[in-house]
Amino acid sequence: MIAEAVLVIALGVAAGLVAGLFGVGGGIIFVPTLSVILGLAQLDAEATSLLAIVPVAALGSWRQARAGTVRWRDAGIIGAVSAASAVGGALLADAAPERLLRAGFALLLLATAAQLVARARRAGDRGAGS
């Protein structure tokens, strides 16, 4: 029980670390941590992950805002539209079978891995990269 809590906290730190480093993450680590290690249902793991993402994204963007890289107008438009579709998505997820949600998430992980490798390759082509 204590070992499990320590593992979950460590994975929480790791999730934040990759979110800060790669700009993706947070949820991609939270969901498997909650479902595979803590045994939450896939739907509950996804819903709980979303809540955990809020402070992490807020802190991350606050740190980057000081560097002046956030474009607030565009972020506001994307955020406002996404709020509406997020409600629709929640209703869909709530009605979807557990297995489908889990398989969909696994595919998302594979797509993310492919995108990260492609991104690293492009950065490599340019020399030093970003």
């Binding site: 906290i9 670390l17 969901v31 498997p32 994204a57 956030v70 949600l101 595919l107 690293a120």
Partner: protein, 137 residues
């Protein structure tokens, strides 16, 4: 970065500040982000970042930062909807979310210092392993 410099060099109007995104384009990106977030429990950065780079000509840094700011709203809306449906475990979210706040501060600080090619490949391999684990019954 080098590539975007050569592109913008011939066009001084975009050299210092890339143009703001068109409303319709940003709306489509937002629509996709919200669906991804609520269906998969992720922020949506995985679609927002590449779309901002491809469609709105953001550089990677601005895309990541802007995506992160939008995600605050996306994830809050998704949480509210899932909360009403009774799917959110509030205390458990704190168990992973609070340690992650320490992690993200460290990650942002380290970003410019670590050569992240090997790190990226390692992380990608980890994601594939987790995907395989989740696809097993």
């Amino acid at each position: 970065m080098r590539r975007s410099e050569t592109v913008t060099a011939s066009d001084p109007s975009t050299a210092s500040a890339p143009r703001a995104g068109g409303l319709a384009t940003l709306a489509v990106i937002g629509l996709a982000a919200g669906l991804m977030a609520s269906l998969f429990g992720v922020g949506g950065g995985i679609v927002v970042v590449p779309l901002l780079i491809l469609l709105v000509r953001y550089d990677a840094r601005a895309a990541t930062a802007t995506s992160l700011a939008a995600i605050v709203v996306t994830a809050a809306a998704g949480t509210a909807a899932h909360g009403v449906l009774g799917n959110v475990h509030w205390g458990t979210a704190a168990l992973v979310g609070i340690p992650a706040m320490a992690g993200v501060a460290a990650g942002v600080a380290l970003k410019d210092r670590v050569s992240n090619r090997a790190l990226t490949h390692g992380f990608a391999a980890l994601l594939v392993a987790v995907a395989v684990r989740m696809l097993l019954p």
